[in-house]
Symmetry: C2
Subunit: 443 residues, 2 copies
């Protein structure tokens, strides 16, 4: 740091992004929509600190995660604290810590930033929002049916129509592999299934000593296509004797019924045996959500059922099911695809411009009355020619300008300008408010 | 990290706090109220990353701040990044970086967490929310009059009535000290004024060679009391010839007029010459907000006018005015004082309980219809006796339970239980929805 006044280039570290206000308004609106849907289903909000103890955060230990974790240091050296890299580990710690104060099944939503020391590349952010729901202590597969209904509501309310929630149950594949004696090598097989890389999968199956008949049968299973009943019926009749497999199929059938009862259209969910999601975490229903016209974006909302959330922190079995929306990534993807939800460009619905400074008291009273009627109103308070004030309102995209000068003060009226139509008329304040409100509520 | 499954005590680092869902709902509601007021005045949202480059963050250099900054490290060592410790430095960087894409005056609000490596003590948090507004590029004192109107709206809508916004103008004290030749030593004097420590102030003034007459005069100035006009009138007539002093008084008079035009009651703002706020940052109007019945809490919302926001990053003068609400601290203070705004204990307005599992499809359809009518509805999806389900709803504070069993399915009705009154009746779904909505909108 220099002690003198020297200019430092204003910039962000690599991998960090921020928005201009116009985009921030849209982003915030998306956050509100997601929050409202989560609350519509009765999920409760929690927010955990950005910081966790290193010991707590890395309880699971090692690998890629540990490399990506940001540790906190002060001037005197490294501390025992880290920034969280997801919301699942903090949830597990939260539930274990407050277990006696929570009612189970515990439906919680959590929408926060997380940080990962990713090598910076296109579409990879070191800081991003996750919007998660989980139901902790839920054992019944019916909860698994609720999750797609939440996803359906979120994406529909975000203005998206052409999306598909792909659903499988890990017990089906696990049971299948168990039945054919492949349990031990299933990691490699599952990875190949996950990538839907048929060539790689064939190779893996051959390596594992599978004959062509078995290999073809498995390929047929994971590529089952068609309407949901056209997937479910053959699954129910699959010539395979394995408890886990049959349990998975039974759960999937129950979940499908539940999803239908909750009103999710058939075209927005698809039973898809190629969905794997995470190798050692999920144990039952799994989800991936894709935008039909943008397959390259991959899954924009994923999750599934797990057997035990809090095992590292408490000696009690807490199964659950949950999903995560990576909102920062989704935002930029939708923006690039031109699919962002419509939003106002600005917070103010009307700006008050001053034709002369002596009218300021009247202008402020008008602003007070407009705000009192729950309409967002900005006053241009700098001394400037009316033209400059109008340019400012135009640049911000404020739909109406009320112009106030000696004439308006004398008549106790206001001049209301519709910025889109470039029309101006002298009206009562009540009339102006009615027009601005109508436009706000019908645009 | 151990490789085996060993239990790690779930806990937070010192100085970090989190809320149970009931409190989180209240906290989030306070955030929404503040956001709505900020938007009511046309402020635009921005959100900057939690992380800034060290060079950018510490451009101002040194002192206490630098000691409190958390630096980021990865496994391979310290990075060039830090967590922000307030929202003002990030704002300055943001404005300088995006100056050509912003319209000025730039009204922005920003509500985010900040981090400081405080030595942990009661009421000091290492992570807390700040809710800031600033108007950048605003030179006219009329903007200084808008700020108290925003503060008044925020605190009123938070359900507080007995609060006072204390207002001064730094030019008045600075001009006074300049007039009596005390400019160079004014730091010590200002600190004494800030603390309102009359004994210390007398000593400082004697040290500076001030005679008793001058000393008494200054004491009289900073202890001016009474209705706002009873402060303003003597200020206008104060027997002192100094341009800065006179400019400060003139600005304060203008600001007072503006505050009145914006409808802030006299009892909620108070001209108070003892307000100083920060020694080298503020240059004009300054604010402190105090809860009348809780003087020990100190200022719960402070700020003021500054001459130049972005000087470290760009060669352009950008004066402005702003305030900050430290929401985390305020939340815990209000909680302790029993002054938290009333809020629902839970997100769900109604829970659906199942008298028998065979009614699940009907129950899910009922839930779908309730949610479609914009009412938050949870379904108890685990298999459990009805009594256990009711206990769960009671524990969460969900006001209504709809019970569904074979009888309700057969009659196409629902049993609606009012949890507070412990009354249950068989009604149509439409009737149930009407009752739940009425209660929600009138409680």
């Amino acid at each position: 740091m220099s002690d003198e006044m020297s200019i430092i280039t204003p910039r962000l570290p690599r991998g960090f992004v921020e928005l201009l206000p116009k985009d921030q308004i849209v982003f915030n609106q998306m956050l509100v929509i997601i929050k409202e849907v989560y609350e519509r289903f009765g999920y409760l909000p929690i927010e955990t600190p950005a910081v966790e103890l290193k010991e707590v955060l890395l309880a699971k230990g090692g690998g890629e995660t540990e490399k990506q974790v940001y540790r906190l240091a002060t001037k005197t050296g490294e501390t025992d604290m880290c920034l969280h890299f997801d919301l699942t580990v903090p949830l597990a710690r939260y539930v274990a810590q407050h277990i006696n104060e929570l009612a189970f099944p515990f439906r919680r939503y959590q929408m926060q930033k997380v940080w990962r020391g990713e090598t910076a590349q296109r579409g990879r952010y070191r800081e991003f929002y996750q919007c998660d729901i989980d139901v902790i202590g839920a054992r019944d597969p019916m909860t698994d049916a609720e999750i797609p209904s939440v996803i359906y509501s979120v994406f529909t309310k975000l203005g998206l129509k052409d999306f598909t929630i792909h659903i499988s149950n890990r017990k089906i594949l696990n049971g299948y592999l168990e039945a054919i004696g492949l349990r031990e090598t299933s990691g490699a097989v599952l990875r190949a299934v996950d990538k839907m890389d048929a060539k790689d999968l064939s190779a893996r199956l051959q390596e594992a000593g599978l004959d062509n008949v078995r290999s073809d049968d498995l390929m047929r299973l994971i590529t089952l296509q068609g309407a949901n009943n056209e997937v479910l019926t053959p699954l129910k009749e699959w010539p395979l004797e394995n408890d886990l497999f049959e349990q998975g199929v039974a759960e999937l059938a129950l979940v499908t019924d539940g999803i239908r009862s909750l009103g999710v259209p058939e075209r927005n969910f698809s039973l898809d045996m190629s969905i794997v999601r995470g190798l050692d975490y999920y144990t039952g229903t799994v989800y991936e959500t894709r935008l039909d016209d943008y397959p390259k974006l991959g899954s924009v909302c994923s999750g599934g059922r797990y057997d035990n959330l809090c095992g590292f922190y408490i000696d009690r079995d807490l199964p659950g099911v949950g999903i995560s929306i990576g909102l920062s990534r989704l935002f930029f993807q939708l923006k690039e695809a031109g699919l962002l939800p419509h939003a106002n460009a600005t917070t103010a619905r009307v700006m008050i411009a001053l034709a002369d400074r002596s009218s300021i008291a009247y202008a402020l009273e008008v602003a007070k009355d407009i705000r009192h009627d729950h309409i967002n109103c900005e006053v241009y308070l700098e001394e400037a020619r009316i033209r400059k004030q109008m340019e400012y309102a135009g640049r911000l995209g404020i739909p109406y300008v009320i112009i106030i000068g000696a004439d308006e003060v004398a008549k106790k009226m206001v001049s209301l300008k519709d910025m889109a139509k470039a029309e101006q008329k002298l009206v009562t304040l009540e009339m102006a408010i009615a027009i601005i409100r109508w436009e706000r509520d019908h645009s």
